[in-house]
Amino acid sequence: MGSTQRVAVTGIGESPIGKTPDMDSINLYANACLEAVDDAGLEKADIDGLVTGYSLVDPKLMHSTVVADYLGLNLTYNESLRLGGATPFVGVCHAANAVRQGQCENVVVAFGDNRRTGFSKGDDGVSSLATEVGHPEFENPFGPLVPSMYALIAQKHMATYGTTAEELATVAVACREHASMRGAGQHTEPIDVDDVLSSGLISSPLHKLECALISDCAGAVVVSSADAAEETRAPVELTGYGEGHGSEYIHRRDDLLETPAAASGTTAFEMADRTPDDVDVAQLYDCFTITPLLLLEDLGFCEKGESGSFVRERGITIDGELPVNTHGGELSYAGAGVFHILEAARQIRGDAAETQVDADLALAHGVGGVLSTNATLLMEAW
């Protein structure tokens, strides 16, 4: 009982990714859940908790209950979360808390959608997403894209600290290098900085190859109590986690370059009794190239304003000082942050194949909204 009880990530699973026109949103969720429970070495009867996200394509009033119904689950913990890209990361935090309070033993945390093929003809998902993020009265009348929200932050970072377009592009190149090495994901052909900078501006300074993919996909993890973890195949300890939540709308930000990642990271590192220097590999939410830059700063991997030189000089590929997004991230693997959590667990298990790092401590960090809502997870060997 209490926060001293150990808690584990015991299973990871993912659906087919990319275009899955024969699978709707619930199919994808169910597929990932079954994979994760099987991966843990658990069975249906072992699962007494469920946290799901939502679907933009097929909204449900009580999403997690619909998924539970579909899978025939009887639960003592049940939660539908709607915090954008941070949803599965916050879901893991909540699942860990529920497990530690003794409310449940094994919680499946799942997130996905069929945004690539699920929207009606003529809407590739971009328009639907655009109107979900901006303020309907005080932002959307001026025509911002979702990338515009992050572009405003990127432009400010460049103007304030001299961060360059090449440094931003380096993030996309590193993610692609990892996806290419692994040979898995939606985009695996290698790219260089020139490819990124010539891919066409979407919303300056962000180019097409600096924007996350839009994918049909789902991912799931199982979070288990210490006792339950002993019965599983390959548990990984969740040694720290934390949340930080700020303003939804970018025009309300006191400082465009400060994010709630500072709060979520501090909480997670204190819980794990670790520091950023101890992190061997980081899976950083990469909806756009500017996002990992701000996260490197606010999670304490470098000083404020130095993330551009960090990626250029210290390096974020597996040969660099801090390997980032060793699966390829949302920029190359698939457009959902949940895979960052799976990849952190894989790195600790030693299952990361061609991009395996000698990792004692792996970090995964998720972002929702416009760097509005954040959660940090830290994983170590069981």
Binding site: E139, P141, P144, L145, L152, Q155, A159, H251
Partner: protein, 132 residues
Amino acid sequence: MTDKPVPTPSEDTTRFWDACNDGRFVVQRCTDCGHERFYPAAACPNCWHTASEEVELDGSGTVESFTVVHRAPTEAFEGETPYVVALVAMGADVTVMANVLAEPADVSVGDPVELIWEERGDQQLYQFELAE
């Protein structure tokens, strides 16, 4: 071709949009802590005091940041690209999103801008142009 979105006033925001139609950009100043809030709301986001007084801003601002949109979010904006979406600081507490109606290459972070009005349907919409 659809029309660009026209703000739909809520109970909180009707007074603000009506003032726009009179050519005035107004915000609520908290009568307790003095925080000027935008967007309009029933309570001060700084101290939660509910009483406020209306103050008119002078329409001058500074480009806090900007982006040039090259791909329209919806059909209504397709004829407009490339266009500038900016965050404009209009005071210590008030930053707004709007378009800066200028050649994109002429806009920089830190530029002074002046409020101008765009007629959008039946609504006067605040926009900005580069200051002289």
